[in-house]
């Protein structure tokens, strides 16, 4: 995986004394990294949850029973990776136990980044990883409003936001993310977006053609420009059944408006106010109380202070 980041720059471009062009010259690499989660082969073992904690140095959090096999109701600032369980009743009366690995989706068009007011607190790398830079984070929580997946979480002790980094520290050293490495069934895959999309589509085709899952498909929502985590679902027409995966996620229009037109309307209005009062002063000047204008008064004793 080394070529995905730093070592990509070490691909040979020219070779001295070499007959012909350098091998591999003109090859275009896909630098987008992607996690593929095949929910149809996930057994809900939660090895990925543990691996995530281990690699990122967090102690195991207290579990919270919520009438399911889930470790806790939702991810937290120190629990970035959570298998969501749902006993879904199918239309034919049977029940499917759906499991989905929930974490940051690493959107191509990240709502957290759009909403963030702090310079450099959220970055998106060329490989698509969306990463919080806690040294620049001010803990305002705007990213919470921007995210269509409810992922950024606040650490009240440090007053910083945290979420899955897609193991950027591992990926940059040519390693796969910790969750991927721990998966015993091979339902988690990691590679380029192109390769993972191909793999996911092949699996979805297999599910449709050979296993009778007519609605099987790939979840890679276009509303956020595609994601750095894609899912294979038995029923792609109902992603909500997989622990509330939104059907058509997009950056909330309020956030778009707030960070777009509202900014310019507001700034122009404020500037207009300052210009307005300045023009008023230049045109009409101050209201000065002139004592001599009030000759009718008899009790006038003092002047202006």
């Amino acid at each position: 995986m080394g070529w995905l980041m730093s070592q990509a720059t070490l691909a040979i471009r020219r070779i001295s004394g070499h007959p012909g062009v350098a091998p591999g010259d003109g090859v275009e690499r896909d630098y987008q990294v992607c996690k593929l989660v095949d929910t149809t082969t996930c057994i809900g073992c939660k090895a990925c949850e543990v691996a995530c904690l281990e690699w990122n140095g967090y102690e195991f959090s207290d579990t919270r029973f919520d009438n399911s096999y889930q470790t806790m109701p939702e991810t937290t600032w120190k629990y970035w990776n959570l298998i969501k369980f749902n006993e879904h009743e199918n239309s034919d009366g049977t029940v499917s136990l759906l499991m989905r690995k929930d974490q940051c989706m690493h959107c191509a068009d990240p709502g957290c980044l759009a909403a963030c007011p702090a310079d450099g607190a959220i970055v998106q790398y060329t490989n698509g990883i969306v990463d919080f830079q806690q040294q620049n984070c001010i803990g305002c929580g705007y990213c919470v409003s921007g995210c269509p997946f409810d992922i950024p979480k606040f650490n009240p002790a440090t007053k910083k936001m945290f979420k899955c980094t897609l193991c950027v520290d591992r990926v940059s050293e040519g390693l796969e993310p910790a969750c991927i490495k721990s998966c015993p069934t091979g339902c988690l895959h990691f590679g380029t977006k192109e390769d993972m999309t191909y793999l996911a589509e092949s699996r979805a085709t297999q599910l449709r053609d050979n296993f009778g899952f007519e609605k099987a498909g790939v979840y890679d929502p276009p509303g956020v420009g595609g994601t750095g985590v894609i899912y294979v679902l038995h029923d792609a027409s109902n992603p909500e059944a997989y622990g509330g995966l939104p059907k058509d996620p997009h950056i909330p229009w309020v956030v778009r408006f707030w960070k777009g037109p509202a900014k310019w309307i507001g700034n122009l209005a404020m500037l207009g106010g300052i210009v307005g009062v300045t023009l008023h002063y230049l045109r009409f000047g101050p209201k000065e109380v002139d004592a001599t204008k009030h000759d009718d008064s008899t009790d006038e004793k003092g002047g202006r202070p």
Binding site: E74, P117, A118, D119, N136, C137, I138, G139, C140, G141, Y142, V144, S145, D150, K153, F154, K159, G244, P252, V254, V255, W258, A262, K263, G266, N267, A269, M270, G273, I274, G276, V277, H280, Y281, F284, G285, P286, K287, E288, V289, A291, K293, H294, S297, D299, E300, K301, G302, G303, R304, P305
Partner: protein, 226 residues
């Protein structure tokens, strides 16, 4: 602070050597508490508002510090506005004199004050400013709580998160517009106004010119004129 209290203050009949007590010590304290807390929230709020103004956060200790104090000082502003409501809400009711005055407000804007009908302690514009700030701060503190504890708003009620953002922005911009006009009028436009909110006093001429009904009330002790 009602007018009768002005009269019954140590400056009996409200007049000492051509000066009238316009704002009591308590009124001035609460005005400046509101002013300082508002200005703090304005500076830090503008920093969060636009990347081009993020440098403003540096003036008050940097982004995280600004983020920490903004809601607390906002609560301080809220309390001081509520206190001003307690002091002033009776004086801020619109009267018939205000209605007459507001119809010819252009004379006020154009500094042709001699054409204006007499008004009481506060003019219609001051009253508008007061009520805008009063209702503005209610919206700001309610939406501000939503922004402060955004994670406490459950995902199923996330429309509240978006509502909080919208309301906070709209209310903040409205108060900023009013604030610009208020500061301009208090410092540059209406001479004597700035001194009055610092020292509390205005000259009798000032009072007679700008707030004749109030002037007559405090000097003659007559009942409030409608």
């Amino acid at each position: 602070m009602s007018t009768s209290q002005v009269i019954s203050s140590r400056r009996t009949a409200g007049e000492t050597g051509g000066h009238i007590l316009r704002y009591t010590f308590s009124e001035r304290i609460h005005h400046w508490l509101a002013a300082l807390t508002y200005i703090y929230c304005l500076i830090t709020g503008l920093a969060f508002w636009s990347p081009y103004m993020y440098w403003l956060a540096t003036l008050v200790g940097g982004g995280p510090t600004a983020r920490f104090w903004h809601p607390w000082l906002g609560l301080g502003f809220t309390l001081s506005v509520f206190w001003m409501y307690k002091m002033w809400h009776r004086d801020m009711q619109t009267t018939d004199a205000d209605r007459r005055w507001s119809k010819v407000i252009k004379y006020y804007i154009e500094n042709q004050d001699e054409k204006l009908p007499p008004i009481g302690r506060f003019n219609y514009g001051q009253k508008l400013f007061f009520w805008l700030m009063f209702y503005g701060v209610i919206l700001l503190v309610l939406s501000g709580l939503g922004l402060w504890f955004v994670e406490s708003i459950p995902w199923s009620l996330r429309w509240l998160r978006y509502l909080a953002v919208t309301v906070h922005v709209v209310a903040a911009l409205a108060t900023i517009g009013a604030f610009i006009i208020h500061v301009y009028m208090g410092t540059a436009m209406v001479r004597g106004g700035f001194t009055s909110i610092i020292r509390g006093e205005v000259t009798t001429t000032w009072a007679r010119t700008h707030h004749r009904l109030w002037y007559e009330q405090v000097t003659k002790g007559t009942a409030p004129q409608k």
